[in-house]
């Protein structure tokens, strides 16, 4: 006999999902719609004069080689942040999973950085790597490496990736650890009895069983790298030197809120929205096929 819970009233389900729908409409659909409208306009900052320009904002953007370059910068940045934060988190999770004594302390310490706001994380790393007063740059100097991220594009990129990844490791760690603990011990023990080495066990049993977690984190981390790293960039490099750390979301801010060019800024938001939508579709269609639930 089939068990089923159902509601008598027709309107009740709608009433129950209404809060979520309202939140989505007010905080996502409405602003996103405004961005789409503004992307076809050339307004002055005060909104006194607005000209409808159709696709012109987009044409202007894509004819700008610095905007095209920011695609590449964003791709490199997001790939590095995702790779670094997920691999370090996985390593730490595997190690923490094996710890028997005082595991609570390890876990707490590893989760801590997640509570730090991106801007604070940025300032902290900047403080350590400040070319003139930073402790780490002082040590690097002692071993013969000149650290000057205000002029060296690779070092600047390295620093913002490090700061952004560091913040995200905690989040990833938490999910990986939960994923690891959900893997039945019996499977691993059986493999061990059959003579599989620890690496072999990880590669053939643990990692495949972790794949739903890994996939979920992949999506979350790419979105994080795209949108939430703004504070880190703003405090450490402001997009420089040159435009070597100018990721797309920072450019939206720089053009819209510093430059007061709302039309171009809105067009960039629309492009960004499209890219993230596309990425998510790609991930679900192609990457998810390789995920074992």
């Amino acid at each position: 006999m089939e068990k089923r819970v159902y509601f008598e009233h027709r309107w009740l389900p709608y009433a129950l999902v209404a809060p979520q729908l309202i939140v989505t409409a007010v905080f996502f659909l409405w602003p996103a719609g405004q961005a789409v409208v503004q992307s076809a306009q050339l307004p002055d900052p005060f909104g006194l004069y607005t000209e409808f320009v159709g696709w012109e904002n987009f044409e202007y953007l894509f004819s700008d080689r610095y905007y095209r370059a920011s695609f590449v910068t964003t791709a490199i940045f997001s790939a590095l942040v995702t790779l670094v934060s997920m691999s370090v988190a996985l390593l730490l999770a595997v190690l923490a999973d094996g710890v028997i004594k005082g595991s609570g302390v390890y876990r707490t310490l590893l989760i801590w950085p997640y509570a730090v706001a991106p801007a604070i994380a940025g300032v902290m790393w900047l403080f350590m790597f400040n070319p003139s007063i930073g402790l780490v740059s002082y040590w690097l100097k002692a071993i013969g490496i000149t650290w000057n991220h205000v002029l060296d594009p690779e070092q600047a990129m390295g620093l913002v990736v490090l700061a952004s990844s560091w913040k995200q490791v905690s989040y990833n760690f938490l999910f990986f650890l939960a994923g690891l603990q959900a893997i039945p011990r019996s499977l691993i023990e059986a493999a061990a009895i059959d003579g599989a080495s620890p690496w072999h066990r990880f590669r053939t049993i643990v990692f495949p069983l972790l794949s739903p977690t890994t996939f979920f984190l992949l999506v979350v981390n790419v979105v994080y790298a795209f949108f939430e790293t703004f504070g880190v960039i703003h405090t450490i490099t402001l997009g420089g030197p040159g435009q070597s750390t100018m990721i797309m979301v920072y450019k939206v801010y720089a053009d819209g809120f510093v430059g007061q060019d709302l039309g171009s800024s809105a067009a960039q938001s629309v492009v960004l929205m499209g890219i993230v939508g596309l990425l998510t579709v790609v991930q679900f269609r192609f990457v998810e096929r390789r995920v074992h639930y």
């Binding site: 900052p45 005060f46 700008d64 070319p131 007063i133 002029l151 040159g242 809120f257 007061q260």
Partner: protein
Amino acid sequence: MPIRRSLAATAVALTLGSAAFTTPAAAAEIQFWHAMSGRLNELLDEQVAKFNDSQDEHTVVATNKGNYSEALNAGIAAFRADEQPTLLQVFEVGTATMMNAKGAIKPVHELMKETGKDFDPSIYLAAVAGYYTTTGGQMLSLPYNSSTPVLYVNEDALAAADAADMPLTTWDEVGAVLAKLKDAGNDCPMTTAWQSWIHLENLSAYHDVPFASEDNGFAGATAELGLAGEAQTTHVATLGEWAQDGRFVYSGRRNEGGARFNSGECALFTESSAGYANTKASAEFDFSIRPLPYYEGVGGAPQNTIIGGASLWVMAGKDDDEYAAAADFLNFLSTADIQAQWHQDTGYLPITMAAYEQTQASGFYEENPGTDIAIVQMTGKAPTANSKGIRLGNFDQIRGVIDEELEAVWAGDKTAEEAMASADERGNELLRRFERTSR
């Protein structure tokens, strides 16, 4: 009572049919949004408190709205929501944006005329107020905090390098001193703050060559950048060469170099005159302030340098009482006592001649040698079309472009000619875009 008073005022105004007639103002509370933080915020609050205590008609409420960009954004967002403050502090690069927004602002000269308050534009220092004045001589916004770049010198470092008595008037002489410092093992002979402002905007004005066409944008929105000129490329090439051989060390786009100079790491430092208080408080070495160096025989050097800082804009859409309060407050800020105090406390330039003379008479300049250099440097010659100031749309973004191009030169990736040509091209695109919204 206030109702009857304003009714009476309206009646009088109607009978006389003159807007310039002085109406007895009713009590008004006005909002003043600014971007001053730390010590400057305290000093500003003191000024506001003094004004509020000095009369019982009006109340000014000052609120900090973050940094310059954030304060401007707050003002713009508030205007769009019809909640704008009466007074808004806007940094100098936002000047074109503000004056272009004709329906959003009330120019100071109009405010003074309509409220019938005493207003004599000739008391203001032309070199300071000129930045915020039309080519026709009408004041648009009241200069509040203004400064100009000067050269800070660590005398101990120079003595250690045996260069104490070497002149630092021209950039060629500076180059020789820097070489000496470097040979003596100094790792940071020179650094700078605000590179676009000091090494391009002020450099152009100081040599009396255009930074942009149309009188640096004062004459119209069709201006084009002129950064690839001889004076600019020569200077950028010189600094680029120094960056390569270690005589010039780049610290960042804002005033990151300040910490390096104040700690004694860097020997020479080009920075705003308003950095004086900070350096005086933290430097544990003997330092002096010198006029900004120039190139002998290039353009009309030394002409005068231009200001940076911010001014106070009156926003549109307020009633007569609020405007009367704003006019009184601006006049209060222009009094010699207030200005002299502000100048001496902060290192910002006084906006009136009277405040300068009062400071002189008080013996302040003898006690604090070097603090008058900025004023002398700015007012030594009458400003020309090239040295009155710069008024370009999207200027904040143009500065960003210039920062990027200069960084490429300091890193050795581009020559000065390439970088300046590219800055011109990219900057002009931004100018054309601004021009379209400025009809």
